[in-house]
Amino acid sequence: MIVISGSGLTVEKVVKVARFNEKVKLHPSAVERIKKCREMLEKKVKSKEIMYGVNTGIGEFSEVVLSDAQVKDFQKYLIYNHAAGIGDPAPIEYVRGAMLGRINVHAHGNSGVRLEITQTLVDLLNKGVTPYVCQKGSVGACGDLAPMSQIALLMMGEGQAYYKGKLMSGKEAMDKAGIPVPGLKARDGLATINGANVLTAMSAIFLYDADRWLKQAEIAAAMSLEALKANMKPYTRLLHEVRGFKGAIRSAESINKIVSGGDLKEGRVKCKVQDAYSMRSTPQVIGAAHDALAYARSQVEIELNGVGDNPIFFPEKDLQISGANFQGSPVAVPMDMAGYCITMISILSERRMNRLNNPALSVGLPAFLTKGAGMFSGLMLSQYTADMLITEQKLLSTPASIMSIPAAADQEDFVSMGMNTAIKNFQILDNANGILGIEFMAASQALDFRKSEYSFGKGTQKAKDIVRKHVEFLDIDRPLYKDHTTMKELVRSGEILDEVEKTVGRLDKY
């Protein structure tokens, strides 16, 4: 059970709730704050104070004042006209993550929303009702209006939702789960949708997966380094401490753990004075990605715990202020960086795989890791697959945060495009799973050629054992697409990582 209080929400907690269905509840103090804020709002409505999005139109129509009779219907039409997404539905975990983020915004008591709305979001999470939300349609400011509106449709007993694996009408799903329909009153609609919660939840989930992927990149690197008889001195902790980047120290120590106990690490295998950059600078490069992801995480966690809404109400000061806390840029900018870091590390992986395949570079391994050269081509074509995936990643690495297109008759004339960042980051990571799977396969193949010659580190040996559970040694050529696809799925599942960490300890502790 995770208690929601407006603070302390982390990337891990988002994944627990979004992916692993952990239950949530509102902290009593949050309930108090929400109520108090709503009281103030209702007082202001009564006294006919002009409040954006409560008794005015929105966006370019913000100068249009609504009559009392129009205020309630306005919330309905607001949700209708903003539910303007398109295409395939977003995965359930993104939508759950977005609802969690929205609840945490409300928990501050600055949104002026009715408690019933927030509580309905809590019920939807706990009872496993997930609104059907189109993935595309948000420009990342004012927040994720279009996708959040499809969540808000359920507040009126409309829209569609998944319940127990089935897609049905929103009303039916709520009835079956026993969740009352709260309806939308003044402010409720806008307070449900006006924040970058979908792209932020996606970013949190991405950072969780990306961190696990980076750890696996270290395992694959360690395996390739052992197969290539690398000089392991460049991984000495002291070397990285004198430069001072945390990520590099972490990465060097991670690799040291994986190779420890093997003949190479213990100096019983002859190696070169200096290796190529793709081998020697692994801690500096993967470390740079760790540092970038750490920064991105710090920004995402600020957003997860902040009031990303508009307008914002301050009951202690009897004040409401219109601003732009929905603007997705603080998340979009570091997430663009986080995405292309995964591309960068994929490029490094491909270079090591190239070294394993190329007999001029592989210190005695058979060309293309096949014993029957000529008749067999071994893993020659695996590289093509990796290269294609990397080029796609490079195209996807163009930052979205510089791509603003003015919207809403130029009232919303700069937008973050953070949703594009979030979507393409998962595409980059999907390719990265494929690329790393191919390196794992090549490295395991190479280690099998070396195993009679010297012994490997405990982590390396464990990783190879796991790979061999799923993909056999390539003795003679066979169709590779099945192996590639199996390996990609293996990387996505994280089985190698979990088993290696059980053997050598956590790779992120140093």
């Binding site: 190329n358 001029a360 163009t398 003015p406």
Partner: protein, 511 residues
């Protein structure tokens, strides 16, 4: 002294190159063009006289086009448009490009649709012929309505304001005109707009780039042949039959060039029965890659030459019915597209060249050449670092190959809500051409060195002449020396067409 008579329809890339690169070139205009200009101006004068409302003659500009200007203010209007639009920034364009801008503007006036007086045309002719070159900052155009800002800087010089070069010195526009004996132009109705509105800046940059690209493309075939010889590569992949089976013109022409360049080589014969069945792509696929670049070049050239003979200002004045019609001929999209496309093509020329460099330096691929093409490797590092330079430039080219034309930022209160960014596209192309010159220069140095190790006396007669031309200026590198001057000399061999001339003693290269 070479003389050129222009009529608005007869400018091509070659002529453009001759005029901008030759300070002694002299231009004149045909009688017929002169007549068209006077006839067109009469229509404008009538409109002014009768006070009929027409865009740019007695209205404001852009978003202000609905503001009517009083008759007595119409001359001040033209002065103001030049002043308000001269908002360029950054380093000045090279003088040859600025001269090209004047030439293109002149040619566009000759069709007689722009409504300027003969005095405007005469000022441009005099400035071109006397080499009074306007100082034009290179940044500030979004490529629609044409190149407003940079052309405004040209207009400043024409009207004795701003800055200009004369006899190599930068001075005020006024003193440049005075020293050259050219009367200061005073703008009348429509003339400021006619000068400012048009694509002449991006066209000039694209033209100057294509002139460089042509040399790079031909030189790449020559240099690639040298590398092939140094690497004991096989010309069998250039067999005509292969290319007739996939008849892209550029591919067929490249295969032809390579066959002719390698004809009679004893090195080719010496390894005819060697165990290598196939060479790496960077050698074997030269016809396909260099050829695709040639096709792209020819496409870009066609678009460019159409634009060189176009009228791209706005509005245009037609004598049939005395009409002034507003359109959008200033929009640079056609040029922006081909500039972006050409940038990609020239980048690829450098990219494949860098692979051949690497192939010659790495002993696992160089078929017996010494590591990094130096004897006493270790004490000497040879050409090791030249590949690093090439890699840096190739990477820079890749970033510069991101298309500019897909970007657009609305300007002028959304009246000009989609622009071409063609000026940026063309400037990137120019830079990519310069980077590619250096990469090919490095390949040239490595190939000559490799071929000397191999015994360049045994290569083909065409390539022997090329090697002789190189060795006249750059000696074989026996031990490490300061290499950068060699790179620059090799780059000059390409850009001054020396390499091409040496090869074309034996074979006329196709493009």
């Amino acid at each position: 002294m070479s003389k050129f008579e222009l009529n608005g329809n007869n400018l091509d890339l070659e002529t453009f190159g001759k005029i901008i690169n030759d300070p002694n070139a002299s231009v004149s205009i045909s009688d017929e063009a002169g007549k068209k200009i006077s006839k067109c101006r009469k229509i404008v004068d009538e409109i002014v006289e009768k006070n009929i409302t027409r865009y740019g003659i007695n209205t404001g500009f852009g978003k202000f086009s609905n503001v009517i200007i009083d008759k007595k203010d119409t001359i001040e209007l033209q002065k103001n448009i030049v002043l308000s639009h001269a908002v360029g920034i950054g380093e000045p364009f090279p003088q040859k490009i600025a001269k090209g801008v004047m030439l293109l503007k002149l040619n566009s006036f000759l069709q007689g649709y722009s409504g300027v007086r003969f005095e405007v045309v005469r000022t441009l002719i005099s400035m071109i012929n006397k080499n009074v070159i306007p100082y034009i900052p290179e940044k500030g155009s979004v490529g629609a309505s044409g190149d407003l800002a940079p052309l405004a800087h040209m207009a400043l010089a024409m009207t004795g304001q701003g800055k200009a070069y004369f006899e190599g010195k930068l001075m005020s526009g006024e003193s440049a005109l005075k020293k050259a004996g050219i009367p200061v132009l005073e703008l009348r109705q429509k003339e400021g707009l006619a000068i400012l509105n048009g694509t002449q800046v991006m066209t000039s940059v694209l033209g100057a780039s294509l002139l460089e690209a042509e040399k790079l493309i031909k030189s790449a075939d020559i240099i690639g042949s040298l590398s092939l010889e140094a690497l004991k590569g096989s010309p069998s992949a250039f067999d005509e039959r292969i290319h007739m089976a996939r008849p892209h013109k550029g591919q067929i022409d490249t295969a032809f060039n390579l066959r002719m360049l390698l004809k009679g080589s004893k090195i080719v014969k010496s390894h005819k029965d060697c165990p290598k069945v196939q060479d790496a792509y960077s050698l074997r696929c030269m016809p396909q890659v260099h050829g695709a670049v040639k096709d792209t070049y020819n496409h870009a050239k066609k678009i460019l030459e159409t634009e060189m003979n176009s009228v791209t200002d706005n509005p245009l004045v037609f004598d049939s019915g005395n009409e002034v019609i507003s359109g959008g001929n200033f929009h640079g999209e056609p040029l922006a597209f081909v500039s972006d496309f050409m940038t990609i093509a020239v980048s690829e020329l450098a990219s494949i060249s860098e692979r051949r460099i690497e192939y010659m330096l790495d002993t696992s691929t160089s078929d017996g050449l010494p590591a990094f093409l130096t004897s006493k490797g270790g004490l000497n590092s040879g050409f090791m670092m030249t590949q690093v330079t090439a890699a840096a430039l190739v990477s820079e080219n890749k970033v510069l190959s991101h298309p500019a034309s897909v970007d657009s930022i609305p300007t002028s209160a959304n009246k000009e809500d989609h622009v071409s960014m063609g000026a940026h596209a063309a400037r990137k192309l120019y830079e990519v051409c310069s980077n590619t010159n250096t990469v090919l220069a490095i390949e040239l140095l490595c190939a000559a060195q490799g071929l000397d190790f191999r015994g360049s006396e045994n290569t083909s007669s065409a390539l022997k002449k090329v090697i002789k031309e190189i060795r006249n200026r750059i000696s074989f590198m026996k031990s490490d020396r300061f290499i950068q001057p060699d790179i620059i000399k090799a780059g000059d061999l390409i850009s001054q067409s020396k390499l091409i001339e040496a090869a074309e003693n034996s074979v006329k290269l196709k493009i």
